[in-house]
């Protein structure tokens, strides 16, 4: 008996590594501290009522952002561990097995559990406000999307201390990810964690397409929408086409591993190459899914901080849509070297190069928007300005990689690592930071400290170049990706050490950001205007933080940059908007079902990962029960009385 318990525990918990013991202890302490604090301040009820059961898009957005920043920390620590290992030749900081696990989880976490939720956070915080709506189309579904993402992410993160992390790379190519070569449960954590959060992402895509197409304020024609809304639409359309492919691909891999199917195995007639095709048919659009909203954010910021209308609005829209469609015709460039017909390679090389054109159009549009504008250099604008050169270099090296003969040299080298970090950090991360800085006052009602923000910006930015520029040269020198150590004779030492220093500088930048938030909360400077940047779009017309119902009266939006035009008219003394009476506002009711259902998914996933059907089957029954209960719920909605609305408006606008 005791022996079998010992045997089970040694498989269940990851043992034998001081770093992991450290993680276990710190996770344990954090949990205890969290539970103790909540109990001491009697906050459990508050947590349940105000956050867990909320369907308010702004609160869901905030939770997405918090989760994403936590994941940025985890993924960042992974990165620093790897850079420490690579700082000097023959380092014995991480074992090769541990190194494999860390680069796998770093990739998955940064793309799926950091970039995606940060993006969805911004969708939620901004889109309804920008289109003059009171909520998203399906608030209940929105809450479900968030909780599914969080449960998926937690399941994936759990693998670090329970059962062992996946180690087959961030896209888990078979046959390496098959049972024969990855017998531990790590790969199953990968399948289930991503699958569960992927369903959430798909539903978010559907939700925002309907929201944008159906819930715009009166007068807001498609070609008058703010550019961020356009970028969200483009990204959401790409999501609904790409994510079902991921769902199927991971399901097939799961069937292979759990039920002995032969889709991608080397025996039984399976075809590993098919997995690689499928995963990149999702994976390549995925990088555009995360970059397109960043393009929208830059468009908003450039226009606001240059006090000029966005240059080339129509060409921007066209570029967004072109990128979102073309992204589906480039997947094979990820395996040029795997023995494809030359004509196929030529086709995919050309489609890949084509994407540079609309992207170039956008860069020029931003530059022309700034041209002769009255530019101010607050933090959101700084991140935008930092992005442009970074993305241009990243884009150019991308075109270099798309040239098939050259790719045979660069393939799987550090050149590639440098390229995609340059576009994903310089494009996506900088973009989402810019957006977060830009909309922060609208969401939280206070502005962030500019001085610390600038420190954060410069350490991040300089650290970025110090970290990744050397990697291009390491790649050209023949250092391959996923190398866990190297000898003195290779001559890679100086560049690797420089790169590691840069990595730590970026870590310092993150600390500045956390400090900045803490400092700004402590010395809160309330945003009383509701419009701290002198903004152009509708979200700046309401007080900060945006009230529960967003707009007391649904605005009319007849022009592009409706709020800017309105401010101009007001300055000229023209009154166009007649004071409309405030009516009771219809709101969707809170619900605990999304949370409970997601917990059931978590239980199901955990059960399947360990092959515990006694756990998985009740989980599945719980999911079905939640769906039925929701289906039978008919009147979960309420009205905010007009009096309350008037009172809230007066308080927020400081007239009371």
């Amino acid at each position: 008996m005791l022996e079998s318990i010992k045997k089970f525990a040694s498989e269940f918990f990851v043992t034998g590594d001081p770093l992991i013991y450290g993680a276990m202890v710190s996770i344990g302490f954090t949990m205890i501290a969290l539970v103790a604090t909540l109990t001491y301040f009697k906050k459990w009820g508050w947590l349940w009522r105000e956050w867990i059961t909320t369907v308010d898009h702004k609160r869901i957005g905030i939770m997405y952002v918090i989760a994403a920043l936590l994941m940025l920390f985890r993924g960042g620590v992974d990165a620093l561990l790897m850079r420490t290992q690579l700082a000097l030749p023959n380092m014995e900081f991480l074992t090769p097995e541990h190194y494999n696990q860390i680069f796998t989880t770093h990739g998955v976490i940064m793309i799926l559990f950091m970039a995606m939720p940060l993006m969805f956070g911004l969708f939620n915080l901004v889109v309804p406000l920008q289109i003059g709506a009171r909520d998203v189309a399906f608030p209940f579904l929105n809450s479900l999307s968030f909780w599914l993402f969080l449960m998926g992410a937690m399941l994936f993160n759990l693998s670090f201390v329970i059962g062992g992390s996946p180690d087959a790379g961030w896209l888990a190519y078979p046959p390496l990810s098959e049972k024969v070569f990855s017998p531990s449960v790590g790969q199953d954590f990968y399948n289930w964690g991503i699958q569960i959060s992927g369903i959430g992402s798909l539903m978010t895509g559907i939700n925002f397409i309907v929201t944008i197409l159906k819930m715009r304020a009166p007068g807001m024609k498609l070609m008058k929408m703010p550019m961020f809304v356009w970028s969200v639409l483009a990204s959401s359309v790409t999501i609904i086409f790409a994510f079902p492919i991921l769902t199927v691909t991971l399901a097939l891999l799961m069937l292979d591993r759990t039920f002995g199917a032969h889709f991608f195995t080397l025996d039984g007639g399976g075809n590993p190459m098919m997995y690689i095709n499928l995963i990149w048919m999702w994976g390549h659009p995925e990088v555009y899914i995360v970059i397109l909203p960043a393009f929208g954010i830059f468009s908003e910021i450039v226009s606001t901080f240059s006090k000029k209308k966005l240059f080339g609005y129509k060409s921007m829209v066209f570029a967004l849509m072109t990128i979102s469609i073309t992204s589906f015709f480039t997947w094979a460039h990820h395996f040029f070297t795997m023995g494809t017909d030359a004509n196929v390679i030529a086709f995919f090389a050309v489609t890949t190069m084509i994407i540079a054109i609309p992207t170039g159009v956008k860069v020029f549009n931003w530059l022309f928007t700034m041209f002769r504008g009255r530019i101010t250099f607050q933090t959101p604008m700084l991140w935008t300005l930092g992005f442009i050169p970074c993305f241009v270099v990243g884009g150019l090296t991308g075109v270099m990689l798309s040239v098939a003969p050259a790719d045979f040299q660069f393939h799987n080298s550090y050149f590639l690592i440098a390229h995609f970090h340059q576009v994903l950090i310089g494009g996506v991360a900088f973009g989402f930071f810019a957006g977060l800085y830009y909309w922060w006052p609208k969401v939280f009602g206070f502005t962030l400290n500019e001085k610390l923000g600038k420190w954060a910006f410069w350490t991040w930015n300089i650290g970025f170049y110090v970290c990744f520029m050397p990697q291009y040269f390491l790649g050209l020198d023949g250092m391959t990706r996923r190398t866990s150590t190297f000898g003195w004779d290779k001559g890679w030492y100086e560049l690797n050490l420089t790169s590691t220093i840069g990595g730590f500088m970026m870590g310092l930048g993150f600390i500045f950001q956390v400090w900045q938030i803490a400092h700004s909360v402590r010395f809160m400077q309330k945003d009383t205007t509701g419009d701290p940047w002198n903004g152009r779009t509708l979200e700046w017309s309401i007080p900060s933080p945006a009230p529960e119902y967003n707009f007391a009266v649904i605005p009319q939006a007849d022009e592009q940059d409706a709020w800017w035009e309105e401010k101009k008219r007001r300055a000229e003394g023209i009154v166009t908007v007649t004071e409309q009476p405030i009516e009771p506002i219809h709101m969707p009711g809170k619900s605990g079902i999304p949370f409970i259902k997601s917990v059931c998914w978590f239980v199901t996933g955990f059960g399947f990962i360990w092959g515990w059907y006694w756990m998985a089957i009740p989980g599945l029954i719980g999911i079905a029960a939640c769906m039925l209960i929701h289906s039978f719920t008919y009147d979960n909605e309420y009205y905010i009385p007009a009096e309350t609305v008037k009172h809230t408006e007066a308080t927020l606008r400081g007239t009371m």
Partner: protein, 205 residues
Amino acid sequence: MANSLNHEMMNEHQHGHDGHHDQEELRQFGFWIFLMTDVILFSVLFATYIVLSGSTNGGPGTELFELNGIIISTFVLLTSSFTSGLAVLAMHQGKKNALINWLIVTALLGATFITLEVTEFMTLVHEGATIGTSAFWSAFFTLVGTHGLHVSIGLVWMVALMFQIKKYGINPVTIRKVNIVSLYWHFLDVVWIFVFTIVYLMGVM
């Protein structure tokens, strides 16, 4: 209770554009988009099946298919699609009982289809074709099984809906739900036609 609710919903329907939008219309539109994602899901499964259709690994292949049984289940499913149409028709005429009855007929036909499918799967397993036999059978069971899973979910949903119609009658919410279930059911029918053609007809040829 049901009446006041009904009244409230009708009210909401009338002035649905003063700020909040017509929820039922939104949901129906959202469901169309969901179906598009389901089309992609099935497309990927079909593509997988086509790629792996020759990979029997020396084991049994399409010769195990019993076309007669499949034709019967195809007929059953197509009929159920027709009866679900009759249910929607009855709903538009305001005939609550006819609506429920047609839904019951549809669900019974759907259940028959599932029973036939399970029987087919059991026969195949008995003859030595399981999901682990070869890549071909993995793809077969996954594609056909995913369709079957969709049908089963539709069945549970339809039964739940019958109780709701019984309780709340025909109102904007139940109208939307019936419309969506029937849309879903027709969609599964279309997918089945592809399964029938690509898996069974082309397999036997």
